[in-house]
Structure formats: structure tokens, C-alpha cells
């Protein structure tokens, strides 16, 4: 038990180190980019050199990269991500106001992709035959469909053509919001569905061919019990890793889909911020994305020994 605590502690420390390195990259890449953000934001309105200097100072651009980074990191640790250049609002406020829409969209897409992807994987791996071939083809097409293509097709067919779903907006109230978010969620889920269907199929197929499954059949274990206890249970460990990464990647996917469907979420905020060179917002969202990936991966790592006790061996050593 103590060793498990040590294991957890190590994992968390490692995760913190990863975030630290990534934060340096996030800050550095924006600072090293050519072009002056202040000039870009001020745009046509001609500012006097004094005003420009004042703005540069306000956003810490007068400092060197290292001191600037430390300053930014110090504030970020206190949950202060700075102020947006173009909105003149705190980055934290901008993001959290949009987190509701984006969070629901991600959850919706994740549930769709998980249920349909793993369901398809299960049916195709266990049934085989025609179901397997159809599922494999569908998964290949889905994997190869970028979300912006899916978004355009869905808009053309279900919003414009059939008029079943609205084309833009996030709606108000839970049911209305779900209705509005359905097409965007499907657009985001399609590629993830494809990956999960394929990876899930491979993982389940590999487990189905194991000798212990055959041995269990020989003991008279069959049907759903055999699949649940000896196939799905064993495939969980390899699958959870992939599921974690795929679900985290949905956060990044919101950028394209929210823009396509005119949703005011974190993703569309990121696109706007990039086009306006609003670097505090871009840095803030990038840092949140990194944090999300690291948290998901750490959770996956901590869950794995519970799913496959053999991976816990390293814990004791």
C-alpha cells in the first residue's frame, strides 16, 4: 500500500515536470514568433511611441524572455493568465465563461465516440463475418474524415438540407443546448469513433485468441460471461491508454468545430485569439490543453495497475 502511495507521488511529480517544460515551450514559442503583438493589435490606429512602449510594458514584452517567462509562470500558478489584448478582459474570465459550452460539447462527443466506437469494436470482433467487414470499412472512412469535412457535410445534409438541427448557436436550456450541440459533437466524434473502433477491434481480437479464453470455453464458460470476464476485462488495459489520449484530443478539436458551427466556446476563442495575435489568450488556452493531457495521462497511468495487475509489478520493485 505504501509502495502505491510512493508510485502515485512519483507520477504526480513527473506530471508536474512535464507541465513545467511544456509551459516554457508555450511561452517561448509565442515570444520568439516574428511580429510585434502590440503593433498587430493596435493595427490601423496609430499610436505614439510612448503609448506603444506603455502597452509593451503592460504585457511584459519589455522584459527578456526568461524574466518574462518566470513572471508569466508566477502569475499562472496563481491562476492569473493575464489580460487579453483584444478583449481587454482577464484570460481566466474569457475561458471560464466559454468552458460550459466547450465542456458539454467534449463530453457529448466523447460519449458518442466511446459508446459507438467500442460497441462497434465489440460486435465486429465477436461476431466477425459481414458485420466485421462493414465495421472495418466504416472505421477506416471515419478515421480518415477530418472534422472540418464532417462539419461541412453534416451542415449541408442535416441543417440546410433536412433542417433537423440548427446550423449555428449553442441554444439555451439543457435540452435545447443538446439539440444545438448534436451536429458539432458528431463532427468531432467521427474521427475518434473510427480510431476507437479499430483499436478496440484489434485489442479484443487479440484477447479472443488467447489460450486462456479457449481454456475458459473448455470449462463451460460461454456467452456474455466469457466475453465480459475474459475478453473485455483483459482488453481494458490497452484500451484505456488510447481512450485517454483520444478524449483529451477532443479539447483541441473544439477549435475547428466550434468555428464551423458558430459556437462561442474555448475553441473558437483560440482561433479568434490567434488571428488577432492575442498572445495571452493563446498562451492560456495552450497551457490548459497541456494540463488536460498531462492530467489524463497521469490518471490513466494510475488506473492501469488496477486493470492489469502485472503492470503493478514495477511498483513493488
Amino acid at each position: 500500500m505504501r509502495s502505491f502511495a510512493v508510485h502515485c507521488g512519483r507520477r504526480v511529480l513527473g506530471a508536474a515536470a512535464t507541465v513545467l517544460v511544456a509551459s516554457a515551450a508555450v511561452y517561448g514559442s509565442l515570444r520568439l514568433m516574428p511580429g510585434d503583438p502590440v503593433l498587430a493589435v493596435s493595427g490601423a490606429s496609430r499610436l505614439s511611441p510612448d503609448q506603444i512602449e506603455a502597452l509593451r510594458q503592460r504585457y511584459g514584452l519589455d522584459q527578456g524572455v526568461v524574466t518574462g517567462y518566470l513572471d508569466w509562470l508566477g502569475h499562472a500558478l496563481r491562476l492569473d493568465l493575464g489580460t487579453s489584448l483584444s478583449f481587454q478582459t482577464e484570460v481566466g474570465t474569457l475561458v471560464s465563461a466559454r468552458l460550459g459550452v466547450s465542456g458539454l460539447l467534449i463530453a457529448y462527443a466523447a460519449i458518442l465516440a466511446l459508446v459507438l466506437g467500442l460497441g462497434t469494436a465489440l460486435v465486429s470482433a465477436v461476431r466477425g463475418g459481414l458485420a466485421d467487414r462493414i465495421a472495418t470499412a466504416a472505421a477506416a472512412v471515419a478515421t480518415a474524415t477530418p472534422s472540418f469535412v464532417a462539419a461541412i457535410i453534416l451542415l449541408a445534409v442535416f441543417a440546410v438540407g433536412l433542417g433537423w438541427f440548427p446550423a449555428t448557436g449553442a441554444g439555451s436550456g439543457f435540452a435545447d443546448r443538446l439539440w444545438h450541440l448534436t451536429l458539432p459533437a458528431v463532427a468531432m466524434a467521427i474521427a475518434v469513433f473510427g480510431v476507437l473502433a479499430r483499436v478496440g477491434h484489434a485489442a479484443l481480437r487479440a484477447e479472443l485468441d488467447r489460450e486462456h479464453v479457449e481454456a475458459a470455453r473448455g470449462r463451460g464458460v460461454g456467452g456474455a460471461a466469457l466475453i465480459a470476464r475474459h475478453v473485455v476485462r483483459n482488453a481494458l488495459a490497452p484500451l484505456v491508454t488510447v481512450i485517454g489520449v483520444m478524449v483529451a484530443s477532443l479539447f483541441v478539436g473544439t477549435a475547428v468545430v466550434e468555428t464551423a458551427f458558430g459556437l462561442d466556446g474555448v475553441g473558437s476563442l483560440l482561433i479568434t485569439a490567434v488571428s488577432r495575435r492575442d498572445f495571452p489568450v493563446v498562451q492560456g488556452i495552450a497551457l490548459i490543453a497541456v494540463l488536460l493531457f498531462v492530467v489524463v495521462n497521469t490518471v490513466v497511468d494510475l488506473v492501469l495497475p488496477l486493470l492489469d495487475p502485472r503492470t503493478a509489478r514495477g511498483v513493488k520493485a
Binding site: 489460450e211 481454456a215 470455453r217 473448455g218 470449462r219 463451460g220 460471461a225 475474459h230 495487475p309
Partner: protein, 331 residues
């Protein structure tokens, strides 16, 4: 109690039937024949060896007792376990055979036991499926572990397979096989994956448990010496057919089939057999065997008539042997 009830039930539905009765079993996969005319009988309480090189079809034969045929294989002949037909059995009947009548101990416990479930789950799965309540199943499982010589059986129930050594895990598998209180124990090379010292212990354990319970045991091995040491009777397989059947000791002392003799001469012995002689050529599967006697292309005693047809089984001394020229005298 349970044991007594079941035995009583068995006798009422008219069976002092053999634990295993395979008659004229033929197996083919599309155009490829795998087994031909295999007849194997295991009486209750009897230990029967099934010996042959790899590819001879001994594992296929043993698995047919559980109705575990290769995918798409066609079977002819008859297989009954404790009087119950296996080849023609429907789902429910086959499940009954697998759960209550016959149980298999596999070669490699590491790959035959689900690595991500606890040993207790492995042992109680069958019991729970029969409707034994969870608590009773656990104490029964602990009993079984104690019987196969696992220390701290209660604690062992909570552990995972990778926490056991190969030999200990094979004991767990034996305990699992016995949980079904089967009439027939199928041991498919149960010691091949183990250390030599562990082998002896596991064989001893199998023998003891089998004798105590009056279970019939089919012991599949490529080790003729081991088979001769523990089996009441031995079948020797070559290229998907039974080529000789004899009492264990007789087979050892006086092998009738040239293949059996060659097998004995090819294995090292503690009892100072003169020299080890390899059998020339490679073992054949049934599909690639020559016409007539499958062994004739490797046989030192082969004559022209051997090609004419598959030799009928005839008795020679204590053996039943499928050979035109059985016995010892030089060609």
C-alpha cells in the same frame, strides 16, 4: 456431500459408463485429414497415457473429449464422456460436459489462466456458475488449494497468477479442474512447461488426487518413460492414428510396434539403456503421411506389403498393434 450426491445420480441414470469412450474418431479440416479411426477408452479410476510426437494428433484427441474441435473441422465417429455424447451434443449438453464431466489441465498454466483475474475468481467461476453461493464457493476453493498443496490457501485466493511460480500455478489449475468434480481429467502435457523437480511433484499430485476420487485420467505426453511409469494403459499415436495400445509396463518391456520401439530407443534413460538412437526422418501429420502404414518410410522393418493398406489392429503379446510385422525379431 456434493460428491456423493453426484455419484449417486450418475448410477441412477444408468451409468457405470466409461469416463471417456472415443470410437473411430475421424477429424478433417476441409480436405486435410487430421485424425483417422482413433479409438481411446478411459475407465473410471483408470490412468491412460496418450503418447506421440508433436503433430501426431494427441492433443486434438484429448480436446475432442470437451468438444473443442478446430474451427470448421468435421468429425466422424463417436465421443462419449461418462456416457454422454459429445460430438452430437447441443450447446446445453456440451456445457454440462465441460462444467461437470470432464476438465482439462493445460500444458502452460501461465497462458491458460486469465492473468488479470484473481486466483479465487478462477477457482470459483465454475462453482458460481453451478449456483454455489459466493461464500461457499470461496471456502470450497480454499479447500481445493489446500488439497493441491498451496500454503495459505485463503490468502492465495486474493492473489494474481503472476504472483505464483509455474509449478504452483499448475497446482492452481489442477485445483480448478477438480472444482468441477469431473469424471474425467484430461492432462495435456501438464508437466512439459515445468522444471524437472516440479514435474515429479505435479505428476505425483495428479496421481494421488485421481486415485482418491476415482476419476479417469487421460494423460497426454510425448514422454514415453513418464507414461509407462504412471499409466495403467498407454496408446501410442502416429500421424493421426493409434498404432499401439498396451498396458503401461508391457509397452515399456516389450514394445510391439516399430514406432514404439524407436520412440523408446530415442529417449535417454536412467536405467542404462545402451545408446540413444534418433528416429530417421521427421514426424508426419496424417495429411502428409505415405499410403498404407504411415510409419513405413521411417520404419526399419518396412516391407512392400506395408504400402498396400493401413494395417489392421492385431494382438501381439499384451499389445494391440497396427503393424504387419510387430515384435522384436530382426528383419
Amino acid at each position: 456431500m456434493k460428491v456423493l450426491e453426484k455419484r449417486a445420480k450418475d448410477t441412477t441414470d444408468g451409468t457405470a459408463a466409461d469416463a471417456l469412450d472415443i470410437r473411430g474418431l475421424g477429424l478433417s479440416l476441409g480436405p486435410v485429414p487430421l485424425l483417422a479411426d482413433v479409438t481411446v477408452r478411459v475407465a473410471r479410476g483408470e490412468t491412460v497415457g496418450l503418447v506421440g510426437e508433436s503433430g501426431s494428433g494427441k492433443s486434438l484427441t484429448a480436446r475432442s473429449a470437451l468438444g473443442m474441435l478446430p474451427r470448421g473441422a468435421r468429425a466422424t465417429g463417436r465421443v462419449t464422456v461418462a456416457g454422454r455424447d459429445v460430438l452430437g451434443a447441443g450447446r446445453a449438453a456440451l456445457r454440462d460436459v465441460r462444467r461437470h464431466r470432464a476438465a482439462m489441465v493445460f500444458q502452460d498454466p501461465r497462458s491458460a489462466i486469465n492473468p488479470v483475474r484473481r486466483v479465487g475468481d478462477h477457482l470459483t467461476e465454475g462453482l458460481r456458475a453451478r449456483g454455489v453461493p459466493a461464500k461457499a464457493a470461496r471456502s470450497r476453493a480454499a479447500d481445493l488449494l489446500a488439497q493441491v498443496g498451496i500454503r495459505d490457501p485463503r490468502g492465495a485466493l486474493r492473489r494474481y497468477p503472476h504472483e505464483f511460480s509455474g509449478g504452483m500455478l499448475q497446482r492452481v489449475m489442477i485445483a480448478g479442474a477438480l472444482a468441477a468434480e469431473p469424471d474425467l481429467l484430461l492432462a495435456d502435457e501438464p508437466t512439459t512447461a515445468l522444471d524437472v523437480t516440479t514435474q515429479a511433484e505435479v505428476v505425483g499430485l495428479l496421481r494421488r488426487l485421481q486415485a482418491e476420487r476415482g476419476t479417469g485420467m487421460l494423460f497426454v505426453t510425448h514422454d514415453l518413460d513418464l507414461a509407462a511409469a504412471i499409466c495403467d494403459r498407454i496408446y501410442v499415436m502416429y500421424a493421426g492414428r493409434i498404432v499401439e495400445e498396451a498396458p503401461g509396463a508391457a509397452l515399456f518391456a516389450e514394445p510391439a510396434h516399430p514406432y514404439t520401439r524407436a520412440l523408446l530407443e530415442a529417449s535417454p534413460s536412467l536405467h542404462g539403456r545402451a545408446e540413444i538412437r534418433a528416429i530417421k526422418g521427421a514426424p508426419r501429420a496424417l495429411a502428409e503421411a505415405p499410403s498404407g502404414c504411415a510409419f513405413r518410410d521411417r520404419c526399419p522393418r518396412a516391407v512392400e506389403e506395408c504400402a498396400a493398406g493401413v494395417p489392421e489392429t492385431r494382438s501381439h503379446g499384451l499389445s494391440a498393434v497396427a503393424c504387419l510385422r510387430p515384435g522384436k525379431e530382426a528383419a
